[in-house]
């Protein structure tokens, strides 16, 4: 170990005056992140190939005339990097002011999506002045896209292409792409049609990576007017066996939306249409609030829990007595909580001593 605590053979760079180690292939941005040197970005999503579009992550590298984009620039031994020089911070502020100048509004409801506050937060952090560089606005809005899940408000698009890249690189759908060029650039589907006529599977990953709320979660946005704070509860999506981590968003007692957990070990921010959007049943008006027992008349009648459980136990017992324990087969519902699923299998396995237990959405 040398005086900086690095193995002599370990390769290092000088990051903001401090010698830090790097791994082969690591970008300057990744090294800086690991060393708690926060570099702002807008086109970066650590799950995706570095793109180098927003240029906010530029840093000064000794010996290079122009700043370099740290997200695409690999660390090499002895590199001397400064991430927050005055010139760099000025560029960042100017870049943010340029971005703001092409957008209709900055304040968007956080229910639009997981990353929807990124631009707003950076503008505050850099005290970027809105109102500079006024001119035409880019992006043609497409809020008429007829689908119940994804809001497409391209007035707020800043052309970072995270949506296009997450669709291709993570979901493998290639449903959206980049149309035209320069200031006329527009996110599009094939032949600029509706999402539902495209290869889109409505996984919602484009929504959750969008840093401006140009893409919004339509289901969550229904709750925007509820004047309560958003609470997040980490859990696992019950729909199938993959085990995607999610954060359930609630306002008061109401579930208002789902965020994929970016640090979920099984999904790393990915979800499918069910995990992302299918939660209405939880608080749906049609949901049963009391047990029902089918009467002699063939119709359901409200009953107390005691009556209902007695009736069920009766039925189970008869089956077991008549046909044996393997005659019982339990299917847990993907829409039930994990605790219920656990209890169900316990009931079948421990209660009956049979392995005839399954789940409706076993993937």
């Amino acid at each position: 170990m040398n005086q900086n605590g690095h193995h002599p053979k370990q390769k290092t760079i000088i990051l903001n005056g401090r010698e830090v180690a790097f791994f082969e292939g690591e970008t300057v941005y990744e090294v800086a992140q690991r060393n708690q040197q926060d570099i702002p970005t807008l086109c970066y999503d650590d799950r995706l190939e570095p793109f180098g579009g927003c240029r906010l992550c530029v840093v000064d590298v000794e010996g290079m005339r122009n700043p370099v984009a740290s997200c695409t620039f690999q660390a090499t031994p002895g590199l001397v990097v400064n991430t927050h020089t005055e010139r760099i911070e000025t560029h960042r502020k100017t870049l943010l002011e340029m971005v703001v100048s092409e957008n209709r509004e900055l304040e968007v409801d956080p229910l639009r999506g997981y990353a929807s506050q990124e631009l707003t937060d950076l503008v505050s952090l850099y005290e970027a002045q809105t109102g500079r560089f006024q001119g035409s606005q880019s992006g043609t809005t497409n809020t008429e896209d007829d689908n119940p899940f994804i809001f497409r408000d391209y007035d707020l698009c800043i052309s970072c292409y995270r949506c296009v890249r997450v669709c291709a690189e993570e979901e493998g759908d290639y449903a959206i792409s980049i149309m035209n060029r320069g200031f006329e650039t527009q996110i599009t589907t094939e032949f600029n049609g509706l999402l539902k006529d495209s290869a889109c599977t409505f996984c919602g990953q484009c929504v959750q990576t969008c840093p401006t709320g140009a893409l919004g979660d339509l289901k969550a946005m229904r709750a925007a007017s509820i004047p309560l704070p958003i609470a997040k509860t980490r859990t696992i999506c019950p729909y199938c066996g993959v085990g995607c981590s999610v954060d359930v968003l609630t306002k008061g007692d109401q579930i208002v939306g789902i965020h994929p957990a970016m640090d979920g070990p099984a999904n790393e921010g990915a979800l499918c249409i069910k995990g992302q959007f299918a939660f209405d049943f939880v608080q749906h008006g049609d949901r049963l609030k009391t047990p029902l027992i089918r009467g002699e008349d063939g119709r359901f009648h409200p009953a107390s829990w005691d009556e209902a459980l007695d009736r069920a136990a009766d039925g189970f017992q008869k089956v077991e007595e008549q046909y044996g324990r393997h005659a019982v087969y339990g299917v847990a519902s993907g829409r039930a909580p994990h605790e219920a699923a656990y209890t169900m299998q316990k009931f079948i396995r421990a209660g009956y001593g049979t392995h005839n237990i399954d789940n409706c959405s076993r993937a």
Partner: protein, 558 residues
């Protein structure tokens, strides 16, 4: 003759490298435009996601998606053609569905109008006639030339005509008597540097490719001459196609590359024909193909036509375009020398650079070195256009005074006029004016003035021109051609255009200057490629040389 079927069009190209562009062109030529059905068929057959292919097609300016499409007139509205009335021409041809196109590389024969595969030119819609590239005038000062030395020989485009003055002798010498390393060493010692604008030493680039791991290696000729005010590569290819082909094969021999592409801009359809015929002759004579001149060295060459995108002259955009990807520039490093076409080592050289190679191999490094003036090595072709008596291509010794070129070689400004400003590097170098017109044509000198020689396009504007308008048109071009990948260029080129067209009305003169400077600085230092880095040189030099005009303009528009 019946039209070929979709599958016939696709099968013609699908087994060649870089098949997407020729397939799209084949449909575009057959149908007159790219229909949704055509795009879906190509996407299916080449296994490209339909949304991706659709997006990529919309990137290219010349792919029409509706009739009249391919055959409708495209009128050059580049800076020089605007001086000659291009906008009137455009409106006169409106009834034929005419659309504007950025500088189409014929500033020596205004105003070019492209109709299908034919270039017409004339100053009015009535006077349009088929147009040929003018031959460069004999060197006005009797200077020894490199690239143009034999270009005026009759029948130069045929193999026999080319061989009459030593054609393919350099290739023969290289393959039979020199090792690849010796060829690289010779090019290195000659001082030849990239003539497309970047000025990177050619020998060093070749060395990097030769020693980079990975096969097959590729030589790409950047013939996407899209820089406004540049028309030299077209002249070279139109009159000396074998000079380019020989240079490419030598580059292949030196670097160990076995395949090459000429990426030709859409606006040069006649040139494609010249190249295709020359390539066929060179193949038939055994100068291109397998076992060249009986050796173990094989090199196959393909011509690929662009579809209207200035950014595809940026080498990594060009490579993405060849590969059928969205033509955004790539992040560098890594460079094409290690990760080029199909992620393999690739030389990307400009037409003029490659056309200089055979003469260097024939006459030696010292000979080429000595062609420059003073300490400067070699020659540079300057495309001179605008308000001068004899616009055209001139091969100048590097280090020649600009005033000598304009006044002695090209006859000076028009009668009763004086030169107000010139552009450098086509448009990318911004303007030079005043005392800075007394420069010599070499990069160290020009860079001291905050500009660069680049691809060698120089447009002359006399005292009758409004430099605000010229600057506006220049910035509008950059905004039109910005690819949209990086923020500073995509937004900045549009904001600077707006500040030159009277739209930013609520700015005081001071605010205007600060905004333009702030935009320019961030574009210059943080843009991802040369387009965004160079575009603000236009406003920077406008403010530097024409401060009074800027003040008047801003005060009048607020």
């Amino acid at each position: 003759m019946t039209n070929p079927t979709d599958l016939e069009l696709i099968d013609r190209w699908r087994h060649e490298p870089a098949p997407l562009l020729p397939i799209l062109h084949a449909f575009h030529d057959r149908d007159g435009y790219l229909s949704e059905e055509a795009i879906r068929t190509v996407a299916d057959e080449l296994r490209i996601p339909a949304a991706d292919l659709f997006g990529t097609v919309t990137f290219y300016h010349h792919f029409s998606r509706s009739a009249p499409g391919q055959s409708a007139p495209r009128v050059c509205t580049g800076p020089i053609c605007r001086l000659h009335g291009a906008e009137t021409m455009l409106s006169d041809l409106q009834d034929q569905g005419a659309t504007p196109m950025p500088c189409s590389g014929r500033c020596d024969v205004p105003i070019p109008v492209l109709k299908g595969h034919t270039t017409l030119s004339g100053l009015t819609a009535e006077s349009l006639t088929p147009s040929r590239s003018p031959l460069p005038d004999p060197n006005p000062a009797g200077q020894v030339e490199c690239v143009f030395a034999h270009i005026r020989e009759p029948d130069r485009t045929s193999l026999a005509g080319y061989e009459r003055t030593g054609g393919y002798e350099a290739l023969t010498k290289a393959v039979k008597t020199l090792t690849p390393e010796a060829v690289i060493d010779m090019v290195d010692r000659s001082g030849l540097a990239g003539r497309g604008g970047a000025g990177f030493p050619t020998g060093r680039k070749w060395h990097y490719v030769r020693t980079a791991p990975g096969d097959p290696k590729t030589v790409v000729c950047n013939a996407d001459e899209g820089e406004p005010g540049c028309f030299k590569d077209r002249t070279i290819m139109d009159y000396d196609p074998h000079g380019l082909i020989e240079g490419m094969v030598i580059a292949g021999y030196a670097t160990g590359a076995t395949r090459g592409f000429i990426y030709l801009r859409y606006e040069y359809p006649e040139t494609e024909l010249v190249l295709t015929q020359a390539l066929a002759a060179a193949e038939a004579a055994g100068f291109v193909g397998d076992h060249i001149l009986g050796s173990d060295f094989s090199f196959n060459l393909y011509i690929r036509r662009g579809a209207g995108a200035y950014i595809c002259g940026e080498e990594t955009s060009l490579l993405n375009s060849l590969e059928g990807k969205h033509p955004f520039p790539r992040n560098r490093p890594p460079y094409p020398t290690t990760n080029g076409f199909e992620d393999l080592p690739t030389v990307v050289n400009n037409v003029e650079t490659l056309a200089s190679v055979a003469p260097i191999v024939r006459h030696g490094a010292d000979w080429y070195q000595s062609l420059g003036l003073g300490d400067h090595a070699g020659t540079k072709i300057i495309s001179l256009s605008g308000d001068v008596r004899r616009p055209g291509n001139y091969e100048v010794p590097i280090g020649l005074p600009l005033q000598t070129l304009i006044n002695d070689w090209a006859g000076g400004p028009l009668s009763g006029r004086t030169v107000q400003a010139v552009t450098m590097a086509g448009l990318s170098g911004g303007f030079l004016a005043g005392d800075d017109l007394n420069i010599t044509l070499d990069d160290p000198t020009i860079r001291q003035k905050g500009s660069y020689l680049g691809a060698g396009g120089i447009m002359v504007f006399d005292d009758s021109r409004s430099m605000i308008e010229v600057a506006h048109d220049a910035m509008e071009f950059f905004a039109h051609e910005s690819c949209g990948k990086c923020f500073p260029c995509r937004i900045g080129t549009t904001r600077l255009t707006e500040r030159l067209n009277g739209e930013a009305k609520n700015l005081t003169h001071d605010q205007w200057l600060i905004e333009v400077e702030d935009l320019g600085r961030t574009m210059k230092e943080t843009s991802a490629c040369g387009l965004g880095q160079a575009a603000p040189l236009v406003t920077e030099s406008l403010v530097r040389y024409f401060g009074d005009e800027v003040r008047k303009y801003v005060e009048n528009s607020s």
